[in-house]
Amino acid sequence: MDFKHPFISNPKLAIFYALFWLIAALANVLILTFSNGIDFVIASVEVFSFIIIYAIIGTAIWFVIKFSTLENNSIYRIVLAHVIAATIIVFIWMYSGVVFIKLLHPNAGMWLQKGVINRIFGGYMLYIIYVVFFYAVNYYKGFKEKLQNESQLKALVKEAELHALKSQINPHFLFNSLNSISSLTMTDPKRAQEMVIDLSQLMRYSLKHDQNEKVTFQHELENNKLYLHIEKVRFGRKLNPVFEIDKKCLQAKIPNMILQPLYENAIKYGVYEATDPVEIETRCKCSDEVLEVIITNNYDSNVISKKGEGIGLRNIRERLQIIFGSPHFLKIDDNKKEFKVTLTIPQK
């Protein structure tokens, strides 16, 4: 929260405020002098003492507003806070007004007693005007901030979307698949056709959804099976996907295309470097609160490949951060024989 007074953060507003009170004070003095026939000096002393003091003390009302915002407090608390604050301010105002007048012009105090009730009433009225004014200022500030945040958030989401998209349609995967298709058209046109259809469906799925959208686990799984099916054509017996899926989890929600980079990783680090078959196993658990997806692949630890976390995993963490506000829903266990990824998706 920003506790800076709007007059400090916005000097223009402070100048308008000062001008407003000066003009109001001047008008008051003129009215008192010409229509009420009070002595100019006395009128000046009186008006300036009361009005200028209120103008100065009144700026403090902003803090009362700030600490009793309409959003976070009950109406009784707000009213109570304002009644107390108004009483304190009116008291200080009256007291210092009297002190000032007596200091500047002892005679002016004579007719002071007459208007005490009116004056107190006026003090409370002014307080209300202030409250309305500051709430308006505050509301406007908040509104502007919100607009700014929103556009920032939108830009962030967009960036993430682009980022994610980039890694999902891996050109390496695409071109190699096309090469496999090219090969199959000569030897096995029927399989080539199947592969073209699988590939198209997968591409459509990856393009269709925006990054925040959630789909059913079933839907996500079907499309990832397409991916694995396509890769299976390339890698043959080296790639062995195994699914152990509890049917009651199929309706759980999951961000779309979040599993694909996990399979891609398993293929890249497990299958690709292997000469023996590699099993990629998918299991799941679910409750009302969470869906847990566990993907495991064995790999040859003798192969030294690129260190560090691949772009795929980083991407998933980023997406989890954006969607659920935490990157810790992705857990990795690597025992040098088996690589295990556990993805936890909140269902609420």
Partner: protein, 249 residues
């Protein structure tokens, strides 16, 4: 052309191999004498059969196509094949290598084969491109070094290397298990290894920072580095400056 080009295919994917075979089957002057599924097989078969031409996939299990090239004693003409690899493309274009982008057409393949046939007529079967390609400056630092002795191919992770010593046209790479000869220059390794971890301390030595136990004054103006395993290595003046700037002393 009367003589047929003896050709070996090194490609890990069966479908890609099938495609290449069926395309090549229709080209008269090409004779496929072997197929290899990975780089290990590739090295062995190429050194043994000494083909005129090799079709080489870049991304393969165990060792990449580029790493395989470094291990060849017989250096045939190469036609590279890759699906998508920006580093490889740069290297090919810079060194005028023949390459095919997957998926490729038969006419594109024919074009590449004809070019190679021309080149063989002019230069013979030995290819210079291999040398150039394997010395092409990488964008990232090396993770592993592939070496070969008489019987075996070793993959040495860079973090296990202790130091490298120059031996004329070769370098000797020392790790905890032993040492390996490799036909590369010190200059190559100086550029290919991360300078934060490896320092050139002498014309003849590149040493891994973590292996250094002590730097000792030896004579008035010369120093030696003593490694954790008690190996002593000479340090030149420039080498001492390099040590100073990396280790901040």
């Amino acid at each position: 052309m009367s003589e047929k080009l003896t050709t070996i295919i090194v490609e890990d994917e069966e479908l890609a191999r099938n495609l290449l075979k069926s395309f090549l089957g229709e080209i008269e002057n090409v004779e496929i004498i072997a197929e290899c599924e990975n780089g290990f097989e590739g090295v062995k078969t190429i050194n043994e059969l000494k083909p005129d031409l090799v079709f080489l996939d870049i991304q393969m299990p165990k060792i990449t196509g580029f790493e395989m090239l470094e291990l060849l004693e017989h250096k045939p003409q190469i036609i590279f094949a890759t699906a998508y690899d920006q580093f490889a493309l740069k290297a090919f274009e810079f060194n005028a290598a023949d390459y095919l982008l997957k998926p490729y057409s038969k006419s594109r393949l024919l074009e590449a084969v004809e070019k190679v046939a021309e080149r063989i007529k002019k230069e013979g079967t030995t290819s210079e491109v291999i040398e150039k390609i394997s010395n092409f400056p990488r964008e990232d630092f090396l993770d592993r070094i592939v070496v070969k002795d008489r019987h075996k191919i070793h993959i040495v992770p860079v973090d296990q290397v202790k130091y490298i010593e120059s031996m004329d046209d070769y370098v000797m790479i020392y790790d905890a298990k032993g040492h390996y000869l490799k036909q590369k220059t010190m200059k190559y390794f100086e550029a290919a290894l991360n300078p934060k971890n490896f320092i050139r301390i002498h014309r003849s030595y590149i040493v891994k920072v973590d292996e250094i136990n002590e730097i000792q004054q030896y004579e008035k103006e010369s120093y030696i580095v003593i490694l954790h395993d008690k190996t002593k290595l000479k340090v030149s003046k420039t080498g001492y400056r390099n040590l100073k700037s990396v280790l901040n002393f």
